[in-house]
């Protein structure tokens, strides 16, 4: 079926280069002024707008503000504090950027970020995001179904999993440059092929109708809304199809606490804390706790992927 090409100009045409460079200088200044990690410099920066279409897969819950989403992140490549990515990710260079696609495909190759931005229909996907740390947000992602990209590479029949890898660039990622290695780099993640091809699974290139802020995994990241947030790997440089279950960073770090599947499940607690409820970010000091839903509320769409599996064992 021919894909209708929306008239989306490449991001390089939307934003003059000096504007991008000024933004970086501004970010560096803002990082210096930011108070105790509480204030992010991100809210003030201008990012190119994206042309998008709505999706029936979006939730109608009210999205978190861009300030919340870009100011409260886990991206250990930039530090372990929630405000660290906003402070330090400004220095990340996101152009040129390509994703290498290989492994068990007949058609290996690379994907350029400009190709993703201009040759696909970008969809608004307003998803709940549930962190393994028991907080949650509603994020209006902009992205494309991962399946629409992967299908171009002619996947071989023996492929059962998809492995993802984040950029390694210590010069721009202080967490990787530190002699104290908080995690083994590169950050890696994996999905079963059917999870990767599920219509809910997207590659996100934007949020709130704009290009992704660096701290949210620019220029392109995975979003798998029924799994804990750490499965949604950021700043992807490699996608490979494999026959064996690929390694996943948090699972390597502590296999007892973080499983390969890591589906949101209120019935399976983290060994150290409860997963029964969550704090929805953005409600201020007195935000009410809400009950966590199986598969983060996406059970109707994805529960069948796990038919017959003991989810307490395959957590």
């Amino acid at each position: 079926m021919p894909v209708y090409r929306y008239p989306v100009p490449p991001a390089s045409e939307i934003t003059p280069k000096d504007t991008i460079l000024n933004r970086r200088a501004f970010m560096a200044g803002a990082a210096g002024l930011a108070l105790a990690g509480g204030i992010s410099g991100a809210s003030a920066q201008e990012r190119p707008k994206l042309t998008t279409v709505e999706s029936p897969l979006s939730t109608d819950e009210a999205p978190n503000s861009l300030e919340d989403i870009s100011g409260y992140c886990n991206f250990y490549e930039f530090g372990t504090g929630k405000g660290d990515p906003a402070k330090y990710a400004g220095s990340l260079t996101t152009r040129p950027w390509t994703i290498e696609v290989g492994g068990l495909v007949n058609n290996p190759g690379t994907v350029d970020i400009e190709d993703l931005l201009s040759n696909y229909t970008l969809e608004d996907r307003i998803y709940r995001l549930r962190c393994v740390e028991a907080w949650s947000m509603v994020v209006p992602w902009v992205g494309i179904p991962l399946a629409s990209l992967l299908s171009k590479f002619d996947v071989q029949g023996s492929a059962k999993y998809v492995a993802f890898e984040t950029l390694v660039r210590p010069e721009e990622m202080p967490g990787q440059a530190s002699s104290y290695k908080i995690l083994p780099w590169p950050y890696v993640e994996g999905l079963r092929l059917d999870e990767a091809m599920h219509p809910l699974t997207i590659l996100a290139v934007g949020v709130h109708g704009e290009v992704l802020p660096n701290q949210n995994g620019a220029p392109v990241r995975l979003v798998v809304p029924w799994k804990y947030g750490f499965k949604s790997i950021k700043s992807i440089v490699s996608i490979r199809f494999t026959e064996e279950e690929p390694p996943a960073t948090w699972n390597i770090q502590n296999p007892r606490e973080y499983g390969f599947y890591s589906n949101v499940n209120p019935a399976v607690d983290h060994p150290r804390w409860s997963q029964a409820s969550e704090r929805r970010i953005g409600g201020g000091l007195f935000a009410k706790r809400i009950d966590t839903l199986p598969f983060n509320g996406y059970g109707e769409q994805v529960a069948s992927l796990y038919d017959g599996m003991d989810l307490k064992k395959f957590f």
Partner: protein, 200 residues
Amino acid sequence: MAQSKAWTALPSWTVYLLGLLPAAFYVVAVFANALGPDPAKALEHALGEWALRFLIAGLAITPLMRFARINLVKYRRAIGLTAFLYVVLHLLVYLVLDLQFDWGAIGKDIIKRPYITIGMAAFALLVPLAVTSNNASIRRFGAAGWRKLHRLVYPAVLLGAVHYLMLVKAWPPEPIVYLLIAVALLAVRLVKPARRARAA
């Protein structure tokens, strides 16, 4: 050699004044909406960290006296009570803002989550110490008995530091550093005092 008077020139109530500055900062930060998108968690963690800092400061008084000959004992009660204040505020934020008086969840946390169990145990150990941090109690227990009771602060600080280490993901340096400092300050207490050169 007597220490310089400068070390103890300030009255001990200045410790309370300085000790309350972080709390005051967080009150302002709450109203200025400057604690980020998850203010309850930020407050909970900051208050817990300040509690640990003051507990560790209190533990440092004796080694300073023994090894650096700096006597700051007059400030220790104020440091200890300030630490307890932060422990109480930290616990209140957990009960009121984090778990929101969900007593079922709180009970489960205490029984099933070792880091909560440990934190609560540390709090329980500190309560009698705060209650007896006054001259009347020292007279009632006698100096030796009172001192013995107040050794409960040793396990309390260790439990507090372990409580912090157990709630983080992976092995970030901060909680490890706090635990190492606490262990070091307790370990130096095992060093036998050198034989006095002069007769007392």
